[in-house]
């Protein structure tokens, strides 16, 4: 037994070579409302390894979106710390995290390419470099020839692709996604999931993805974090040991069903 135990750290390194990029500890959030203070998040602790695809799933109103907004520095927690690349997140820092929102939220007065280049324009990047980088991102999301179109000329799925391109354009190591496909129809949603995995494997970003869809969670994730109803806390954490690339057929498999069921058991119980 002794030699095995000594070997173990080496094995761990081989399985999980990634270093932690996001570290959250002791996170609590209470906000005031007309009916008194609301305890939204309670004692959240999580670690996200570099290059991992982590999905946070939970019932609506469990605070998963709030948690993501805190990771983005867009909202402030009551207590606890959030570290990203070793430094605390207190304000939005587009060099460290890119964000994709539930509604694509593109600026209707800008073309697709100018929307993608928007974060660069804020940084005073030169016009030529902006165009080149935004164009490369549009190519990446499969919209290389739609750069000149305005948002009202794009379909819902295309808008969300532009939004993903915008989230990636500053090349941040982390991409935060807040139910990005929730407003899409089922077919588009499936296609976008596949597309996202392709983009992810091409860029090797760390992704933290929030959803309330169990299928989406298992299909996309390396690791699923399950949150409970309010006050939101992390009640389960599971590795998705399905090979990549993921396929549609896997959804009918036993592993998929077992994981999906395990999440369901966790989130349905408190809802009763």
């Amino acid at each position: 037994m002794q030699p095995l135990a000594e070997l173990k750290p080496v094995v761990d390194e081989a399985i999980a070579p990634e270093r932690p990029i996001i570290q959250v500890s002791g996170l609590d959030h209470v906000y005031p409302s007309r009916d008194g203070p609301v305890h939204a998040l309670s004692d959240i602790a999580l670690t996200v390894g570099e290059g991992r695809f982590v999905v946070i799933v939970g019932p609506s109103g469990c605070g998963k979106s709030s948690l993501l907004m805190m990771l983005a520095g867009l909202r402030h927690q009551t207590a606890g710390t959030i570290l990203c690349s070793g430094r605390p997140i207190t304000d939005p820092d587009p060099d460290r995290v890119g964000v994709v929102f539930q509604e694509a939220n593109l600026f209707p007065w800008l073309t697709a390419i100018d929307n993608v280049a928007f974060p660069l324009a804020l940084r005073g990047v030169s016009r030529a470099e902006r165009a080149a980088r935004a164009n490369a991102m549009l190519e990446l999301v499969g919209l290389g020839d739609a750069g000149g179109r305005y948002p009202h000329e794009l379909s819902g799925g295309m808008k969300q692709r532009v939004s993903i391109a915008r989230g990636l354009v500053q090349d941040p190591p982390v991409l935060l996604m807040d139910e990005p496909f929730a407003a899409l129809d089922e077919q588009t949603r499936m296609a976008m999931g596949e597309e996202l995995l392709r983009i992810w494997s091409a860029t090797r970003k760390t992704v933290v993805f929030v959803t309330h869809s169990l299928t989406e969670a298992v299909y996309l994730a390396d690791e699923v974090l399950v949150m409970s109803a309010r006050p939101g806390r992390i009640v389960d954490r599971m590795e998705v040991e399905l090979p990549r690339p993921r396929t549609y057929e896997m959804m009918a498999g036993a592993v998929f069903g077992r994981l999906r069921d395990r999440i369901w058991q966790q989130i349905k119980a408190p809802a009763r």
Partner: protein, 251 residues
């Protein structure tokens, strides 16, 4: 919004009918030519007037007064509107005052402007500003409501500063409504400047029109009206062209 051929044709016919009636009625004796000179006579008079440097100077001074008044009223009104709508409490305090000033006819204040500022260039400008600034303010307030909080949130997520949010989110969101207000402001500003000139002035188109009217020079009076109508239409269409360029995305 491009007009179709039948619409354009119809418009041309309407204008032709209007000018034709203007020409025919006095010539046929239906209207008194002393009161309504035929269109061709008015056109001839206008041509003759435009050849006179004095009249061109009058036209220039009226236009400059209007442009200066608008150039002051637009930024001041926009900034005040922004200030009042971004500070809800301040907005609530000033709301009744602004609404009253917006509602009352500005012409009743004209004597006070004359008493305090005389009848020169800056009195016309000041009265022009006073007559338009509240229109701009009201439209700026409405325009701020068109700014979507989601868009501000996105800009913040990508690290936009307050100034960048103002310039890159507020301004483009507000522009279509703001330009509509600007167009109204120019129209009302034109009225205000002309009125001030007609009331008491030594220069300007308003002054000329008033004196032609008093001296029963109907052909010149109509020529002046025609000229001012052309100026108003040109200004209006110029702003509308900018408006169309800036709001194509709202369709």
């Amino acid at each position: 919004m491009r007009s179709s051929l039948p619409v354009l044709l119809g418009r041309a016919l309407l204008i032709a009918a209007f000018l034709g009636a203007w020409e025919a009625l006095p010539r046929l004796g239906v209207a008194d030519p002393e009161l309504l000179p035929p269109f061709s006579t008015v056109l001839g008079t206008l041509w003759g007037l435009l050849a006179r440097p004095a009249l061109r100077a009058d036209l220039a001074i009226t236009t400059v007064q209007l442009l200066v008044a608008v150039a002051v009223a637009l930024p001041v009104g926009t900034l005040l509107g922004l200030l009042l709508s971004e500070n809800p409490r301040l907005g609530a305090i000033f709301d009744p005052l602004v609404f009253f000033l917006f509602s009352i006819p500005k012409s009743i204040f004209l004597p006070m402007f004359i008493l305090t500022m005389g009848i020169g260039f800056w009195q016309k400008v000041a009265f022009g500003v006073f007559s338009t600034v509240f229109i701009v303010l009201m439209s700026a307030t409405a325009a701020v409501r068109a700014v979507r909080p989601d868009h501000v949130f996105v800009a913040r997520a990508f690290g936009a500063t307050r100034a960048q949010i103002a310039w890159r989110v507020y301004l483009p969101s507000m522009l279509p409504i703001l330009l509509e207000g600007f167009r109204l402001a120019v129209i009302f500003g034109f009225t205000a400047v002309l009125l001030a000139e007609m009331y008491a002035s030594r220069t300007g188109m308003g002054h000329q029109i008033a004196s032609w009217g008093e001296n029963f020079m109907m052909d010149r009076l109509f020529a002046g009206v025609l000229l001012l109508a052309i100026v108003a239409i040109v200004l209006n269409e110029a702003i509308r062209a900018v408006e169309v360029r800036c709001s194509h995305w709202r369709s």
